[in-house]
Every structure is written in structure tokens, then in C-alpha cells.
Symmetry: C2
Subunit: 102 residues, 2 copies
């Protein structure tokens, strides 16, 4: 714990519309692109009634750059127009962590 | 944004074992109990290959109290013994948020 270096998490929670034509392709493309960004650390997703995607980043600047990435902006607009009935984004500073591995 | 009051998120990600007898009942019980805790703000969950549960809290103290709650401690032990092959807990400070609602 002593060497822990804080990093950032973006918690993206969403409810999708019934019709999400084109969503999977875009989600895959955007996830691939995210992984290539400077400061990207990881991404985890799950969806049932609600979708939760958490991406991890080295800095707020990396998050800001990714938010403004041209391809990502297109995806965000499309998401608002066609795929999501609601979503929420939380920018968080990870202050502590621990894990269990069997 | 100007009135935004920081709060905390606990990101719990997990991989479950094949056999998770008794898990659903315990998960339900623990979620109900969490909702009764002082400082609890909300909880969201989804699971596919990976499970992601994010709970929201007013303070680090509220998170610490919940972590040490006797019934929760029993659930944590059982989780390590029987249900999870791995999990990770991240304690985060939510610094900014925005949302879209259609």
C-alpha cells in the first residue's frame, strides 16, 4: 500500500434504448481506440439492466484528452442521439485499493 | 457543477467460481443492509464475465464502518472461501460528474 500511486477511474453507467443498431460495432471500435490512448490503464464492463463501464487512467489530463478525441466525440453524439436513454459519468480519483486472488 | 460536493465510490470488481450456492441470497441480504447504513448514497451492479458493483458513500468513514459491519464481515469471509476466484476493491473520491437524461 505504501507505494500506491493514485490514478483515476471514469465510471460510466447507462441505460440503453430498445433499438441499439450499430452499438456493438461502435463499442468495440471505441474500446480499441481507448486502449491506444496515452495514459490509459485499463477498462472493465458489464451490462444487465444497467451497463457499467469503468476505465482507468493515469491522470485527469488523459481523461480530458480522451473525452475530446474526434472519434470518441462522434460516438458520444451517436450515443445521445440513438443508443442511450440516460447515462452518468463520474470522474474519480482512486485513493486506495486491495485485492484477493485465489 | 459549482455546488458539487465530493463523495466516495467503492468499485468492487469480481470473478466468481462455477459453484456459487447461497450467493444470491447473501448478495440480496447484504445489499439491503448496505442501504440502511449511515452515509450510504446508492449502489449499482451488473455482471457478465466480470461482476462490477459500485456503491456510493458520503465519506471514507462511512465506507470503513460498512467494511467492518459484523454481517458484512461474515459475507466477505464466505465470499473469499466459496464464491470468488478473485476480486478487487477500489476506494475512490468522486471529483466530478455529469449526466444525460433523455
Amino acid at each position: 500500500m505504501e507505494d500506491f500511486k493514485p490514478y483515476y477511474a471514469v465510471i460510466f453507467t447507462s441505460i440503453q434504448n430498445q433499438n441499439i443498431d450499430g452499438y456493438s460495432e461502435m463499442a468495440l471500435k471505441i474500446e480499441r481506440l481507448a486502449k491506444q490512448q496515452s495514459g490509459f490503464l485499463g477498462i472493465e464492463s458489464a451490462r444487465n439492466d444497467i451497463g457499467i463501464t469503468v476505465s482507468y487512467w493515469e491522470s485527469l489530463e488523459a481523461i480530458q484528452n480522451w473525452k475530446q478525441h474526434s472519434e470518441h466525440l462522434i460516438a458520444q453524439k451517436k450515443g445521445i442521439k440513438d443508443w442511450y436513454s440516460r447515462y452518468k459519468v463520474r470522474i474519480c480519483r482512486v485513493e486506495r485499493e486491495y485485492e484477493f486472488i485465489k
